[in-house]
Symmetry: none
Subunit: 188 residues, 4 copies
């Protein structure tokens, strides 16, 4: 009977790990408890129910992503736009791959989705897209990004590409970034 005091964090990480490696459908209380090295009942000492654990795990990973993107806006003007974006996208993709099963399960399940919407309205940070948008706007001021594209929309486009890459269904980050930078319309 080990008596740790970081059990809550271990449960969250166990949930992320199981979801990533085995999929959300296999993310049972049993599997998570086993992965964390505790009994199932212990989950309920730290979370009121399974979904609270899942939400905590998703939020935790979201916070990690946000920590990465936060550092982007100050880098406007330095290095190249391509390098800056590629760097952040790479970090995001690796973290997001962890989160994907949880996030998708939530996005896909109306019941869970509703709970998340409430959480978001209570002030959960939608940081990463905002950070990206801020960075892009700054680069626009510097003339290093086309002035006519909307920074907020562009941020969402990039996030979506990262998401696709994390899922394994999209092109590589580098390839997708090249397309985004060049644009489809011929330059006359």
């Amino acid at each position: 009977m080990p008596r740790r005091h970081d059990t809550k964090q271990r449960l969250i990480q166990a949930a992320v790990h199981v979801a990533r490696t085995r999929g959300y459908a296999h993310t049972t209380t049993r599997a998570v408890a086993e992965q964390a090295g505790v009994s199932e009942a212990t989950i309920y000492r730290h979370f009121p129910d399974k979904f609270s654990l899942i939400h905590a795990a998703a939020s935790d990973t979201a916070a990690q992503v946000s920590a990465v993107t936060q550092e982007l806006p100050p880098r406007a003007g330095s290095s190249t736009v391509r390098a800056n974006l590629l760097d952040v996208m790479g970090h995001m993709a690796s973290v997001r791959a962890d989160m994907a099963p949880l996030e998708l399960a939530i996005a896909t399940d109306p019941e869970l989705s509703q709970a998340r919407s409430q959480a978001i309205e209570r002030g959960l940070p939608d940081g990463p897209p905002r950070h990206l948008a801020e960075y892009l706007a700054a680069e626009q001021s510097l003339g290093r990004v086309t002035a006519t594209v909307d920074p907020v929309t562009t941020a969402l486009v990039i996030m979506t590409q990262v998401f696709g890459s994390a899922l394994g269904t999209g092109p590589s980050l580098e390839d997708s970034l090249d397309v985004l930078l060049t644009g489809l319309e011929p330059r006359t």
Copy 2:
């Protein structure tokens, strides 16, 4: 209660409907059978197991998407690139929203994912990206699309945006297309 012999199709559509409206986690044999108006046991008259039904449902929807994109390549040169792409993307998104829960559940679950890979290797069509790439290449020949972007990569980028839109996490199709067309690099 003798039913028609189109029960198989009704089961497939019931699976799609339940998955779309209630999420994959709630897509149980019970729910599907109820939605189809048959007994659970009837499912096993038409499919060897539940996953075969799920795969059939996903394939069915995938075929619909493919039917839409198939008509794209011949349209090269007509109307505008923007209009052609937006039209197809809109059709794809609406169909894909149906499929999203199933597709994501499959993509996310290693066990199912493996089964799908085998199915794909057996010849399931990955048509839509190919159709898009063919269309883009044709437009490049006509000088209506930048010659330097890779058509295959670009097709995947577009598919990813459609996917994000269907999920509700990305920008609107129109907005994302604008960004893609313009490109981020300033035109000197």
Copy 3:
């Protein structure tokens, strides 16, 4: 895998049996299924949840009691009042002993109690007390029971004594009936 068609009744009787012999707290789905010789899951083919089974069991036993008391009113005037009452009370007590744990658990649990109240308002028979009251009124007309006591109240008093006897906390039925017949006030 036996394929009976009276499983529902067997489950009801199993529930009554377990409750009587082991108490309501031990009337688990497992215990009932075991007693009925089926699997736990089978319970849920016949009842939406455990409480529906418990209610069915209680109602079933209540119906048996009612069947006994129903025959009482026509017997007014025959035999003696003492013999008639004692006979019916004896039958009721034996059936009620079966029901006691269920009925008490229901009466005692606010949650279950509420469900029962609704059931009663929907028209469940409160037969036995009414049958007793009818019988007593008939005997009053015949002059074989004191005219001044209220038949309805008296019926409830008798039911309560039967209940106490079934529980094992009251006096024997014969003794309690003697007290009721004689009355405490001295006859001048």
Copy 4:
């Protein structure tokens, strides 16, 4: 958070309160501890196990009932028999309503019942019926109660009516007492 050392009493009262308001099935260690404002573990500082707490709670309430009935025998001859009995029955019923869930759970559960029998044989007071019987015998000597009824049996009959009233299944105390006083046999 140092608490007073009357924690034991607070636990007993918490158990009674939870049992009365929510039923025995909901009288869990968690609920009792919460009601008492202590942790679950504290219960085991004061009682070897949950059943000891339950028995203590039942005994505690039983003692209160006994305290009420104890004062009855000396009142023989004063006021009226009806007033004396009604007064005591009223007090008993109010206390017993608290106890009912616990007492019934014990009476109904063979396992607990056995433990109680042992406790009773170890000298737990069965006072109230005896007090009532003594009072009735005294009134018989005074000619205020029919001489032919057995005081002990009558005491049990009265206790049973009180019990029914406390449970809410019997008639009002006043009504039942009227029936008992008058008796069913016509007075010639």
